[in-house]
Amino acid sequence: MRNLLSTELFRIFRQRKTYYAIIAVFILEAIIMISAYMQGREILDLFLENLTDTFEFNGNLLNGNLIVYLVLNSFWFHIPLILMVVVSGFLTSEYQDRTVEAVLLQPVSKLKFIGAKYMAALLFTAFMLALLIVTTFLFAYLVFGDGDLVVYLEGLSFFEPHEAFSRLVWAFASGSGTMLFYAVVSLTLAVLLREATATWIVAALFLLVTTLLLRFDFGSEGLNTYFFPKLTDTWQALFYVEVPWDAILTKSLVLLGYSALAALLGIAVFIKRDIT
């Protein structure tokens, strides 16, 4: 398994498309930062509009923390979309080039082969997220400086810089769980569909429907809490005044369960199916 995993990682970083994905993430990050900077003032004016009669404000709210928070919001759609396209490509390209067959002609078990794929998908996702998170913090603080973070969630909440930083880091950690879920799902879709374009379309559809269902009221407490679309925005809870750690932990574990389930489904189908 370690050998398979190391060759997976070696090949991932020898492919041009990996670098296209990294560049895409950077471009996305830059666009989000620029639009965050341009929109940030407008958002702040809206947030503070009704307080301007009563108060004068001292200090800069359009700072690195707000920019990082706005980049974090890109977790809603953009980052998972890029991740799903790239991660599903790890397998669909092998089906297309028939290298799945070539590897399985060697003394390699199907379980280990597909297991290594899932591991590589998780590691690659973690790498991309680390890259995104580190560069976001770095650029945001370097360019926009430090300061209080204001967010609108159950009212306007202000967090002091060290508090904002720790909440943002935890939110990124929690959001990363969601990204890993999407990565695993996309690989399972690749196992099921095998063909790149079909997998991309279904993955994008999955993401779209999940995002829509997040806001949908199922009329049942259980579904509204534990159906997987409802677990994809757990990271938002890090910005409640009182962080509901227990709920975050429970939801994260349930989402982890969904990820494991998706992976098991993919592994089972891959093992059961003939390589034709």
């Binding site: 809206l46 009563t54 108060f55 209080d148 909440s157 925005d233 938002q236």
Partner: protein, 217 residues
């Protein structure tokens, strides 16, 4: 001719009132405050508005007679537009007259209730009511109705009977509720919509706690 005399007389009386009718209690307080050339103080600010969650902030406040106060803070702070008029400079900025409504009791202390009415349109408040502790010659409470920014209700707390500078100020005000377009909302989008419409305004307060006055006289 008779009317003309009447007019002159009325105008003269009005001018005389302007000159004389600043309540002596207020004048005494102003004189006490004017003895302070300036000061610096550490202030803790606690915002109490239903939809604002803000930790208690600390800032350095400096006041120089004749200037408005300056606030320095590492953090983002919200400074009330009224309530920091330590030298009563804002009340005294434009001509006004006062009307003493007599003695009332406020928080167990006898106070003179003094209305301050601006006599020009330039002033940015329409009326101010002061509860002045006549024995201790300091303001216990004020209520300022501004022309643009609503009414501010300000309570003063003092450490020692002789103090003229407050240890704490609570500013109460009316504030409109927040309206955020849907696209900026997170998961709370569906929760507050009805409430927002039904609740056009609400009371808010900010509590300021002063410590370590460094006074220059």
């Amino acid at each position: 001719m008779r009317y003309f005399l009447l007019l002159i007389g009325t105008l003269g009386m009005a001018a005389a009132m302007q000159a004389q009718d600043i309540d002596p209690v207020l004048t005494q307080v102003k004189a006490r405050l004017d003895s302070i050339a300036g000061f610096e103080v550490t202030v803790q600010m606690e915002v109490d508005i239903r939809y604002v969650n803000m930790p208690v902030k600390t800032a350095e406040l400096s006041y120089q007679q004749g200037n408005s106060v300056r606030i320095r803070s590492e953090d983002f702070v919200m400074i009330p537009k009224r309530g920091l008029d330590f030298g009563l400079g804002e009340l005294y900025k434009y001509p006004f007259m006062t009307l003493n409504l007599g003695e009332v009791e406020f928080q167990g202390r006898p106070c003179e209730l003094v209305k301050v009415i601006p006599t020009t349109d330039a002033s940015d408040y329409s009326i101010a009511t002061l509860w002045i502790d006549s024995q201790r010659r300091r303001i216990a409470k004020s209520q300022i109705s501004t022309k643009k920014n609503g009414t501010f209700d300000i309570n003063y707390a003092y450490k020692a009977p002789k103090d003229v500078l407050p240890e704490g100020i609570t500013v109460n005000f009316q504030v409109a509720d927040i309206r955020i377009p849907l696209r900026f909302l997170g998961r709370e989008a569906q929760v507050d919509k009805g409430q927002l419409k039904a609740d056009p305004g609400q009371k808010g307060a900010i509590r300021l706690l002063f410590s370590e006055y460094r006074i220059s006289r």
